[in-house]
């Protein structure tokens, strides 16, 4: 068998992906209890950017500009960010199962948020987001320290991440079980499972800024990531400073994950599954893979979040629950297909 490797034009694919993303955001905003059309979305956006005015009522203008638009944009940013984190970590750790949560970052973030919400740590001076952020960094620091002490190889990083994940999950449960009342437990749980409800423009701008920086750094390392295909030693003999690359990229992906988790909670499976889907589309060269994975993740999470907030309307399903429900079968399918092609 001489299987050929053929790849589509990545420029075209990115342009199509970007167009699809803009259309998805516009359409997703129209979906919901309040009846809003795509044209209304454009006019609201245009009026807020100072290009004319909208004839929509202030309430409907508010629904678009204050509720649905930031929420949908944050979904796109989170999807893109998680997919990029997953793609980078899978290549760096040479582990197809690696994703932002393997580092234990999300568990740390959860613990940080729970400590603030339930125990009232920080005396009101520390917001939930800041608590999550600190927890994420703490957990990541622990993983780096642990993996360094254990020898610093990639499997040690993954194992340290699993250990940190378990530790922080246990801490979170402990705090919730011992100190929280039923109402708080419900709120915390919802947040831990991932939710894009109630986000504002600040979340969008912070996450977008971190995403742009992280994506730029990762793209600058695209060729270096390619060189990891045959392992760290092979990368080193191709001129890569393995230790520096790992430190830079693990820090960047951990920071991005921390930012996303502190705004939207622990949304699973996007970082795991979407990079595999993007690889199936454009191959594993990172200069092509990273932008495509980002766009695919963004479109994916926009629609999953739309589903999460409408399927049991007026109840809202945590978006993390939906990504897992969709992600698990897709994940099994991906594994099954890679098994057959070997």
């Amino acid at each position: 068998m001489t299987r050929k490797v053929t790849r589509p034009r990545v420029g075209l694919l990115c342009a199509a992906g970007a167009a699809l993303l803009v259309a998805s955001v516009a359409v997703a905003i129209t979906i919901g209890p309040a009846d809003i059309r795509v044209a209304d979305v454009w006019s609201v956006v245009a009026s807020h950017l100072g290009w004319g005015s909208t004839e929509l009522s202030p309430i409907r203008d508010g629904i678009v500009w204050q509720l649905r638009l930031p929420r949908t944009l944050l979904a796109a940013v989170c999807g893109a960010g998680l997919a990029v984190c997953g793609a980078v970590m899978q290549s760096l750790l040479r582990n197809p199962l690696a994703d932002p949560f393997v580092l234990g970052v999300s568990s740390g973030a959860s613990t940080g948020a729970v400590v603030v919400v339930v125990l009232g740590a920080g005396g009101g001076l520390v917001s939930v987001s800041a608590g999550a952020f600190l927890g994420a960094l703490l957990s990541f620091g622990l993983v780096l320290l642990l993996s360094h002490t254990l020898g610093g190889t990639t499997d040690r990083v993954v194992l340290s991440g699993v250990a940190a994940m378990q530790l922080f999950s246990a801490l979170t449960s402990f705090v919730v079980m011992t100190a929280a009342d039923a109402e708080t437990t419900r709120g915390v749980l919802f947040w831990l499972l991932g939710s894009l409800g109630g986000v504002g423009w600040t979340d969008v701008w912070v996450c977008l800024a971190v995403l742009v920086v992280a994506l730029t750094v990762c793209l600058a390392y695209a060729r270096t990531l390619d060189a990891f295909a045959f392992g760290q030693d092979a990368a080193a003999t191709l001129g890569v400073s393995v230790a520096r690359t790992r430190l830079v990229l693990l820090c960047v992906t951990a920071l991005l994950t921390a930012a996303l988790v502190s705004s939207a909670g622990a949304i699973g499976f996007v970082g795991l599954v979407l990079p595999h889907a993007a690889r199936a589309l454009v191959g594993s060269g990172h200069a092509r893979l990273l932008p495509v994975a980002a766009l695919a993740g963004a479109v994916f999470l926009v629609w999953v979040d739309t589903l999460a907030r409408t399927v049991l309307d007026p109840q809202e399903v945590p978006v993390g629950v939906v990504t897992s429900l969709i992600g698990v079968p897709v994940f099994v399918l991906v594994l099954y297909r890679t098994r057959r092609t070997r």
């Binding site: 068998m1 001489t2 299987r3 050929k4 490797v5 053929t6 290549s91 040479r94 197809p96 793209l219 600058a220 390392y221 695209a222 060729r223 270096t224 390619d226 060189a227 295909a229 045959f230 392992g231 030693d233 092979a234 080193a236 003999t237 191709l238 001129g239 890569v240 400073s241 690889r279 191959g283 594993s284 060269g285 092609t341 070997r342």
Partner: protein, 283 residues
């Protein structure tokens, strides 16, 4: 046994890649103990020795992936430790025993990896990059397989692709760690033919004494981390040395037109008091 022939001074001055009295320990055990080698430019040097004698470690020190505990590896007189990884990778290419990846790659993708040390971020491949890749594919006879998937290649083809990748680095030194392991005999001969025909200095760890005799200009024999013999295959491959180093009885003949020795294995040497378990036959 033959006395060690020390034909070079142990200074680290001069051209090319040299190891000067390098030592390496792991978990308190000495892996390499004061080993020096200085391959003459353009030649193929074979590293011989039983498993655990330090061949792979010496190659890893020569490629700069490991640092010596004492001693120094130099490239044109400069210690590797003072050179950047990129600069080293533009001079020294490595072919490992068995390269594997889970990443879906074409032959062309793998060969292009060889250009990594020559390229900058954010820039497309230059004409020189493409030229080097085309050249490497042509030299290894892979030009018509560029788009084939790596995972569909046989072991011999994969090693060939790795050599093409190494050539795309445009190295002057090529280090190979038992590159013929897992290959059938035709591919073993093909591969070593290819390596010895390249305009580079090669250091190749080998298990097969007859392949070493056929293809190497010089041999360096290691045992327990020390050089026990070095010189031309004809000088080094004697029945006494093979018995001493590998613990096997052989009949060595030199009846070819080129005077290269041929080793025929007769059995293991039964030692009066075995130091460890019974010595094993190579391969």
């Amino acid at each position: 046994m033959t006395a060690e022939r020390v034909e070079t001074t142990e200074t680290t001055e001069g051209a090319g890649l040299r190891a000067g009295r390098v030592t390496r320990t792991a978990d308190g055990r000495v892996i390499l103990d004061g080993v020096s080698i200085s391959p003459a430019p353009g030649t193929t040097v074979g590293l011989l020795g039983p498993n655990g004698s330090g061949k792979s470690t010496l190659l890893r020190l020569l490629s700069g992936v490991l640092a010596p505990a004492s001693g120094v590896v130099t490239l044109d007189g400069s210690p590797l430790a003072e050179l950047g990884r990129r600069d080293i990778a533009r001079r020294i290419a490595v072919v490992e025993q068995q390269a594997d990846t889970q990443v879906e790659l074409s032959v062309l993708d793998v060969v292009r990896l060889g250009r990594t040390p020559h390229r900058r971020a954010w820039t497309p491949p230059s004409a020189a990059d493409e030229e080097a890749v085309r050249d490497a594919l042509a030299r290894t006879g892979l030009a018509d397989r560029a788009n084939q998937s790596w995972h569909t290649l046989s072991g011999g083809e994969r090693q060939r692709v790795q050599i093409a990748r190494a050539l795309a680095q445009e190295p002057r030194e090529l280090l190979l760690d038992e590159p013929t392991n897992h290959l059938d005999i035709q591919h073993q001969l093909d591969l070593l033919n290819l390596v010895t025909s390249l305009p580079v200095t090669s250091v190749v760890a080998l298990h097969d004494l007859n392949l070493a005799a056929m293809y190497c200009d010089r041999l360096v024999v290691l045992r327990e981390g020390r050089v026990v013999a070095r010189g031309t295959p004809a000088d080094v491959l004697t029945e006494e040395l093979i018995a001493e180093v590998y613990g096997v009885r052989t009949a060595v003949t030199r009846d070819g037109s080129d005077g290269r020795p041929h080793v025929r294995f007769l059995g293991t040497v039964s030692r009066p008091v075995p130091r460890q378990s019974a010595p094993t036959c190579p391969e």
